[in-house]
């Protein structure tokens, strides 16, 4: 069964709606902040995973399909494998780079541009949330990011039609 990455965005929504349950004010704030950070991270991965699947399954991206084809018994040259491994080493960059390639379809290119813009913002939020100390998140920032993630999922839905 294929995992639906988009449900991470639903999880982010729940983390925002019910961020804490403790009574201790200090613990409660920490719990709220950890849930907010987790929500930002999940919102990004919800969109990233869905975009990855779109490239692999709808756009038939060769590099992303190689592992599946290998499992099915297809054989590739060492040079092909090396090229794919190098190209997809930084997979987050790779997905954004592939989305920036023109499809020669104005409607699709517009949707892909919008998707990249949101993905880029969400990625930065995710890096901040996962790695940066000293940030105290405001609920409204999380709200905007989750709404952005939903917009991106909508772009992807349209791209898959």
């Amino acid at each position: 069964m294929t995992f639906g990455w988009k449900f991470y965005v639903s999880l982010a929504e729940r983390l925002l709606t019910n961020p804490a349950c403790g009574d201790d004010p200090e613990l409660r704030d920490s719990e709220v902040q950890s849930n907010y950070r987790a929500a930002l991270s999940r919102a990004y991965y919800g969109v990233f995973g869905t975009a990855y699947d779109y490239l692999r399954d709808t756009e038939h991206d060769f590099a992303l399909n190689m592992p599946i084809l290998q499992q099915q018994g297809q054989v590739f040259t060492a040079a092909q494998i090396q090229e794919v491994e190098t190209g997809t080493k930084f997979i987050h960059d790779y997905v954004i780079r592939q989305l920036s390639r023109t499809t020669h379809d104005q409607r699709k290119d517009g949707l892909r541009r919008g998707l990249r813009q949101v993905l880029s913002s969400l990625r930065e939020r995710r890096v901040e949330a996962d790695y940066r100390q000293g940030l105290h998140y405001d609920r409204r920032t999380i709200r905007v990011s989750i709404d952005d993630a939903k917009t991106a999922l909508n772009y992807l839905q349209q791209l898959c039609r």
Partner: protein, 173 residues
């Protein structure tokens, strides 16, 4: 009365009239460029105003360009100049895009703080890029509307120029 703006410098420079000149109205004014990075208004009594614009010289000698700033909008805050410069050094076209984006943000998010910093994803350290962040004091509905306007009218049409090296975010104060 129609305002007049002129820029005098110790060096000969070609200049572009600041776009906000129409806002400096109701008085006959002259402007003065000081230290090649500030634009002030001087009234008929030779009283200089506070800095009204930041002026950035371009790389070509002999040229000067008013690139950002409106009214009393403060300068874009560079949080880590060395890191920022290292990204710009790789993609020089970012400099103009940053200036234009900042001008747009100043226009739309009047009075809010705007910062610039470099960022790297620790999971993929090859991807150093720049982040402009506007920190708004506006209420959620108003800020969301302004943010949508900024994205639809400016950032999305110009996004490809960034080559994925610039990200613009909005936070709340």
């Amino acid at each position: 009365m129609q305002a007049t703006l002129s820029i005098s410098t110790s060096e000969r420079m070609e200049t572009q009239a600041p776009r906000s000149s129409e806002q400096v109205s109701n008085a006959r004014v002259n402007s003065e460029l000081r230290g090649r990075n500030e634009l002030r208004i001087v009234d008929n009594n030779n009283q200089a105003s506070d800095v009204i614009m930041q002026v950035a010289p371009l790389t070509q000698p002999g040229f000067c360009y008013v690139v950002f700033g409106r009214g009393t909008q403060p300068e874009l805050q560079w949080l880590d100049p060395a890191g920022i410069e290292s990204v710009i050094a790789e993609t020089e076209s970012l400099r103009a895009l940053i200036d234009e984006s900042y001008a747009q943000l100043c226009e739309i998010f009047r009075g809010d703080t705007v910062t610039l910093r470099s960022s790297v994803d620790p999971d993929e350290p090859s991807s150093r890029r720049l982040v402009i962040k506007v920190k708004t004091s506006k209420d959620f509905e108003n800020a969301s509307e302004l943010w949508k306007r900024f994205n639809d009218d400016w950032w999305l049409p110009n996004f490809d120029r960034a080559d994925d090296k610039l990200c613009i975010l909005m936070d709340f104060q």
